[in-house]
């Protein structure tokens, strides 16, 4: 079983925080640059809610990447 990966494109992110609110394991936050940041990525369950709700095409979740 690999790790899940949350890829954030900071060029697209406008820091609205919708992803933060829908993440069930609360691993996303808005950073000091007003863009989304991932904390404790290892906790990610790969549900993809952040990707689905992101209005800016700024998040892609890759599930089960083997390192």
């Amino acid at each position: 079983m690999g790790k899940n990966k949350v890829i954030v494109n900071k060029d697209y992110c406008k820091g609205c925080g919708i992803c933060v609110s829908v993440c069930p394991v609360k691993i996303l936050k808005i950073g000091e640059d007003f863009k989304v940041e991932v904390e404790n990525e290892e906790k990610c369950i790969g549900c993809g809610m952040c990707e689905l709700y992101c209005p800016d095409f700024a998040i892609i979740v890759k599930k089960g990447i083997t390192v």
């Binding site: 406008k14 919708i18 609110s21 829908v22 095409f57």
Partner: protein, 268 residues
């Protein structure tokens, strides 16, 4: 994840888009692109038509044949495209003002013809691009820049109007449930006839700010919480919230097909 948006279908050089932070339009467009991906339609045959307003800008970001038309007229342009070349899959992205106010007549008649167009209306209750004026769907008592004392009219029910006019596929979902929204859009794309998917969206900057919905995340949650399944009320309308679901899904003769059957009969 789920159905990943193919970057090939986005004009990535045009991103980030012009929509405000937290604008629901991006969630709707994302659902449209996932639905297109799942539909397996030939991308070169897709013509993505839009009108004027925030929703109208969506055509600039998707990598198909795209046409950004005049205010209220996307259905008229789309009608010409579909009738002139029935092989094309014509998708229309429009807003509540674009479709139901200035374009209201085209909306009624396109639905009445049951012409094979897939129409997704980004309904955010307000004119966002021009700075937050009332739209046909602005809820009663809410505040906009042209209803500073509160709105005195009842809002228009776009789905209800589509049904009355003769649309053969009508569904509504909010950005609070993007997966279902995607599913309805997919159904609409695959449906032969006039399909109308009412995507209830958010406008944080112009509507939310004046109506206690200024936080994007809370706005999404609000729409989700306000949603009432169609199966529960069996009505397109409810005073308690936003009825969501698939309202109509029927087969009826489609305009362009009928037209070319007629041509076959009379062609010399």
């Amino acid at each position: 994840m789920y159905t990943e948006i193919s970057l090939d279908n986005l004009r990535v050089k045009k991103l980030p888009h012009i929509w405000c932070a937290g604008c629901g339009n991006g969630i709707v467009l994302s659902a449209i692109l996932r639905a297109i991906e799942r539909s397996k339609i030939d991308k070169d045959k897709i013509v993505f038509v839009s009108g004027i307003g925030c929703a109208g800008r969506s055509s600039g970001y998707v990598n198909f044949n795209t046409l950004h038309t005049l205010h209220g007229r996307p259905l008229a342009f789309a009608t010409g495209i579909k009738l002139a070349n029935p092989d094309l899959q014509v998708i229309v992205a429009t807003g509540d003002g674009d479709l139901a106010a200035i374009g209201g007549n085209h909306f009624i008649h396109a639905a009445k013809r049951n012409i094979d167009l897939s129409v997704i209306v980004f309904n955010n209750f307000v004119y966002g691009m021009t700075g937050g004026q009332l739209s046909p769907t602005t809820p009663e008592d809410s505040f906009t820049t042209t209803t500073p004392y509160g709105h005195i009219e009842e809002p228009m029910n776009i789905s209800y109007l589509a049904i009355a006019a003769g649309a053969t596929y009508v569904a509504r979902e909010t950005i609070g449930n993007p997966l279902m929204l995607e599913k309805y859009i997919l159904n609409g794309l695959l449906h032969k006839g006039f399909s109308l998917i009412e995507a209830v969206s958010s406008c944080v900057t112009e509507f939310g700010r004046r109506n206690n919905l200024g936080d994007p995340a809370e706005y999404v949650k609000f729409l989700k919480d306000k949603s009432i399944p169609f199966s529960k009320v069996n009505s397109v309308e409810s005073h308690d919230g936003i009825v969501v679901g698939e309202f109509v899904n029927i087969e009826k003769p489609e305009f362009v097909t009928s037209y070319y059957e007629l041509v076959k009969k009379v062609a010399k």
